[in-house]
Amino acid sequence: MFVKLLLLFISASLVNNVVLSRFLGLCPFLGVSKKVETAAGMGGAIIFVITLSSLVTGLIYKFILVPSGFTYLQTIVFILVIAAMVQFLEMFLKKNVHALYESLGVYLPLITTNCAVLGVALDNVQKDYDILTGVIYGFGTACGFAVSIILLASIREKMEYNDIPEAFQGTGIVVVTAGLMAIAFCGFAGVI
């Protein structure tokens, strides 16, 4: 059991990296990766939200949608639950865990409509994971996101001083970098 979950974690975080091989959450990946600090904050917030949302949506699916036969409403229910949860989470952190709020708070509202969050929730349903497996899968996926955004941010910080062809300055070179990172992450394919 433990080995299975560990393998799932590695597969979700490295082999099937959420940004680099599945293209989910591309906007924050390209948008918030200018500085390592910000990237780490975003990564932390994503880990927090995805892990929690895969737990909550898993519970809702299993105990509300399946018994009542409303599974076809999953997309609507999940997106609303995620949006509401992020709002509550923000209020809760602001009131009770101020240190965490200071470091993650700014990013929380931006994550509401991140496709990676909804993607993981839908994945859990589609792949028929039980709740524990779903949470591990979500955690792994989010860790994969955090790793890749921090790596990209570190590369971008170095790239500031490079001489880049004019047309590729700005977004272009960042996307090329992401492509090269995707090639590197293809190397993990043999791990499992």
Partner: protein, 263 residues
């Protein structure tokens, strides 16, 4: 400005969501491994976009301003669910190929972006055509990217073998597919080239006409603040409030202070 034809043209050419506005990049990269997938995804998005634009425009005077975002999301998600079942029922092969990217149309920036910036302010008919135009623009770009990737990566277009493949064993000369183009890294490279070309085109247009085009860096810009989706999700107002709040006390986060868009 509100004529149906003009709305169509606007979506297809002037404000093409992929090539000009650079919106909705996640599905653009993920599903364009072949032309047919790109076309299918584009058409599904078009249906959702047109219908939700129409519906939101009809409801625009009923929905209270404060809860408009959740209301839009419910409308969009309902149409996405309908489209999902239609695709699953009638084109199962496409459904298998697109997988979770069909339900993920809900979080496509183009749809909420149009709802917020056009449909919520304009009458139903122009809104419908605005959705159609934007959707068809999206479809065209996805199909074009799909054709390029499929052609380079497999030597086929819409599953027809265009370039005869090389066969080493039989000693037949031909095309050796550059399979990286239908894999993940290839999508990034194609997008990078696209972005670079767009930048050059805009620059030369600027030099020729002397008119600056509206900034289009949007999602792929430098920060979340320029994302048009941030304007429609709760993010932007919060971000701005936070910026003002943390401006005085030294913020731990270098947030999104006024970036100049250089496009």
């Amino acid at each position: 400005m509100n004529k149906p034809l003009e709305r169509l043209q606007n979506g297809l050419i002037k404000e093409n969501p992929t090539f000009v506005l650079m919106l909705g990049m996640c599905p653009t990269l993920a599903v364009t491994t072949s032309a047919i997938n790109g076309l299918g995804m584009g058409l599904s998005t078009t249906v959702v976009l047109a219908l939700s634009n129409l519906m939101i425009s009809l409801l625009r005077n009923i929905i209270p301003d404060r809860v408009r975002m959740p209301a839009y999301i419910v409308v969009v998600a309902s149409f996405v669910t309908i489209v999902q079942f239609l695709v699953q029922g009638f084109v199962p092969s496409l459904y298998d190929a697109l997988g979770i990217y069909i339900p993920l149309i809900v979080v496509n920036c183009i749809i909420l972006g149009r709802a917020e910036s056009y449909a919520s302010k304009n009458p139903p008919i122009p809104s419908l055509f605005d959705g159609l135009g934007m959707g068809l623009g999206f479809t065209c770009s996805l199909t074009v990217i799909g054709i390029v990737r499929e052609f380079l990566g497999a030597g086929t277009i819409f599953d027809h073998q265009v370039l005869p493949l090389a066969d080493r064993a039989a000693g037949k000369a031909g095309y050796t597919p550059i399979s990286i183009f239908i894999m993940a890294p290839g999508a990034f490279f194609i997008l990078a080239i696209l972005v670079a070309v767009m930048k050059e085109v805009r620059k030369s247009l600027f030099e020729k006409t002397g008119k600056k085009l509206a900034p289009a860096e949007s999602v792929l810009g430098e920060d979340c603040a320029v994302c048009p989706f941030a304007a429609s999700c709760s993010g932007k107002s919060v971000l701005e409030a936070k910026k003002a709040e943390t401006a005085n006390s030294a913020a731990p986060v270098k947030s999104t202070a006024g970036k100049e868009s250089d496009s």
